[in-house]
């Protein structure tokens, strides 16, 4: 049964909406945890489904998949917590460190070390990114939504998605300055 069908049924039978929760709660929580930390994500993820339930009669039934809709709600809720999100990134900027996970292959390890080397500047760049640009960047990078899905999620034109993403990537590159993460060697210790 498609998401749209479930949501339509929930108009008359609210309990049906539980199926949407069961399908998407975990991935919405993980997206939020990456944006604002797991503690705040616990609350926000619950808020997403309470808000979605309240808005279910306005859902566009032509959209079979509710995923972009839910990510859009999650993104809007993060917007209301903008200062907390900024604090989270600033904390990351102070503490970002490399952690090689067991099973990392060489490319993966290189990626981790590169991100760690650039981490403080990168986290600080996220903290100062204009909120709308940050939303687009993170919906693409973390939620892995397509550009049309991002447009649907936050209600902006496709072209605006492209321009915001381009601007966000420029901002990040600018914040990294002349640091080239690829030139950072693997640690000798620590």
């Amino acid at each position: 049964m498609s998401d749209a069908t479930v949501i339509e049924k929930s108009w008359a039978d609210p309990e049906q909406f539980g199926a949407i929760f069961d399908r998407y709660f975990s991935q919405i929580h993980r997206y939020l945890a990456r944006r604002v930390g797991s503690k705040l994500a616990d609350d926000l993820a619950a808020d997403v489904f309470v808000a979605a339930f309240a808005q279910r009669t306005r859902y566009d039934l032509d959209q079979d998949c509710a995923r972009p809709w839910l990510y859009g709600i999650a993104t809007n809720l993060v917007g209301a917590q903008r200062r907390r999100e900024q604090r989270y990134y600033r904390a990351l900027a102070r503490t970002a460190a490399a952690t090689a996970a067991p099973g990392d292959d060489e490319d993966r390890l290189t990626d981790r070390l590169s991100a760690a080397a650039a981490g403080p500047a990168l986290a600080a760049a996220l903290a100062t990114l204009p909120p709308g640009d940050r939303d687009v960047l993170l919906l693409v990078a973390l939620a892995e939504l397509s550009y049309p899905e991002v447009a649907a999620a936050i209600g902006i034109p496709y072209g605006t998605v492209c321009s915001r993403l381009s601007r966000a990537r420029r901002h990040v590159r600018g914040a990294l300055g002349d640091i080239n993460p690829m030139q950072v060697k693997e640690p000798t210790d620590g």
């Binding site: 616990d42 609350d43 200062r83 600033r90 590169s114 650039a118 996220l126 100062t128 966000a168 990040v172």
Partner: protein, 391 residues
């Protein structure tokens, strides 16, 4: 590696939500299916209008910020913690002796309540450019050596303020320890100087500032106090040692080693040696202990760790930008453009907050300009839990 991959690596995939988290969220959804909930907020307390009018003395030898509080002078929200029987007259001839004396003061405070509750106000200077857009502020962007020149398009500055309230309860029974509740609130923006206000007026007096979007920009008005709820998680508070040498070893063990990517990045961006960077990180880690709900004996040990950090400086008898009287503690290095002053209460060793101050011209701002601040409005042990909003 492109920017998207860097972002993914910086914010790695999180663990799935735990069973209790899923159950609690599902319970909230079920509750919402059976009728609307009505949030209820406690009334806000008064707030001071902050106007920084002073400058830092040449050479950054002392924090001599002059602060005018309008109206009334003394902030209405002061809720100073008291440590009975401790003298306010602790003096020392040098920073090390002073910090060791503070260890004695901090170690005498008692745990007198079930909850550790804190209220922290934060402020950050944001710079606004042409078209009412927020420009990148170096001090919020991890830049150690910013340019003295004003950024292109610079119009004026605002101080964006917020407040966080949290109450934590240590582990007991089946409770693993963690936050039992709290609030988050935007306090609205203010102008750091009359000149900034005049520039804002010349710019058409926009009611919202830094407007990339009408609903995301900063307002002059405080926002609602948002209940942040219960969040289990007690971290390493209980495991920190009250023995100074062990505590120093615990804190040092968490620091990046020489040659690590983080250390290399810090060396690159600050121009400092690894030993200097390690000193900075140890200083910050010890200060964080003063902020945490740890036993007073651990706070005392943190002061003894601070006393061992080379280059630590202390100046009693100063006021921070919010007007709190205390003792400034900081590390400084030749060529510093910004200094983060920590303020402590000499009566009991509690942290009062910190001010990041420009000590040279930064982004066109003169020496003495406030860049960011944290004010520990109140913190301490209490038997009163947070006032949870009724639904």
């Amino acid at each position: 590696m492109d920017e998207l991959t860097l972002v993914r690596e910086l914010l790695p995939d999180a663990a799935p939500p735990t069973g209790p988290v899923v159950a609690a969220a599902r319970n909230r959804l079920d509750t919402s299916m059976h009728g609307p909930r009505r949030p209820h907020w406690r009334p806000r307390r008064g707030r001071p209008v902050l106007l920084v009018t002073g400058v830092l003395a040449a050479g950054a030898a002392a924090a001599l910020l002059t602060v005018t509080l309008l109206p009334g002078g003394q902030p209405a929200y002061r809720a100073h913690r008291k440590a009975p029987g401790l003298a306010r007259s602790l003096t020392a001839t040098g920073a090390r002796q002073y910090l060791l004396a503070m260890a004695g003061a901090a170690g005498q405070a008692k745990v007198t309540g079930r909850y550790w509750c804190s209220v922290v106000r934060q402020g950050s200077r944001e710079i606004i450019g042409a078209g009412n857009k927020e420009l990148t502020a170096p001090w919020l962007n991890g830049v150690a050596h910013p340019s003295a020149a004003r950024p292109a398009g610079y119009q004026y500055s605002v101080i964006e303020r917020s407040q966080g309230e949290d109450c934590l309860e240590p582990p007991h029974g089946s409770w693993p320890g963690g936050t039992v509740g709290g609030y988050d609130q935007s306090l609205g923006i203010q102008f750091p100087t009359a000149a900034d206000r005049a520039a804002w007026q010349r710019d058409g007096s926009p009611t919202r500032v830094g407007a990339w979007y009408a609903d995301q920009s900063d307002s002059f008005n405080p926002g609602p106090r948002v209940w942040t709820g219960q969040k289990p998680g007690w971290g390493s508070y209980a495991s920190l040692s009250a023995d100074p040498a062990r505590l120093k070893a615990q804190l040092s063990a968490q620091l990046p080693g020489p040659g690590s990517p983080v250390a290399k990045w810090a060396e690159h961006s600050t121009g400092e040696s690894y030993s200097e960077i390690r000193n900075d990180m140890l200083f910050s880690a010890a200060v964080e202990v003063l902020r945490d709900p740890v036993r007073s004996a651990v706070q005392a040990a943190a002061y003894r760790v601070l006393a061992t950090v080379p280059g630590v400086q202390v100046k009693p008898g100063v006021r921070d930008v919010t007007g709190q009287a205390g003792t400034a503690v900081w590390l400084s290095h030749p060529g510093d453009q910004m200094v983060d002053y920590q303020f402590i209460d000499p009566a009991n060793g509690y942290l009062l907050g910190d001010d990041l101050i420009a000590v040279t011209t930064v982004s066109g701002l003169p020496p003495g300009s406030l860049l960011t601040y944290n004010e520990e409005v109140s913190s301490g042990w209490t038997n009163t839990p947070p006032d949870k909003p009724a639904h």
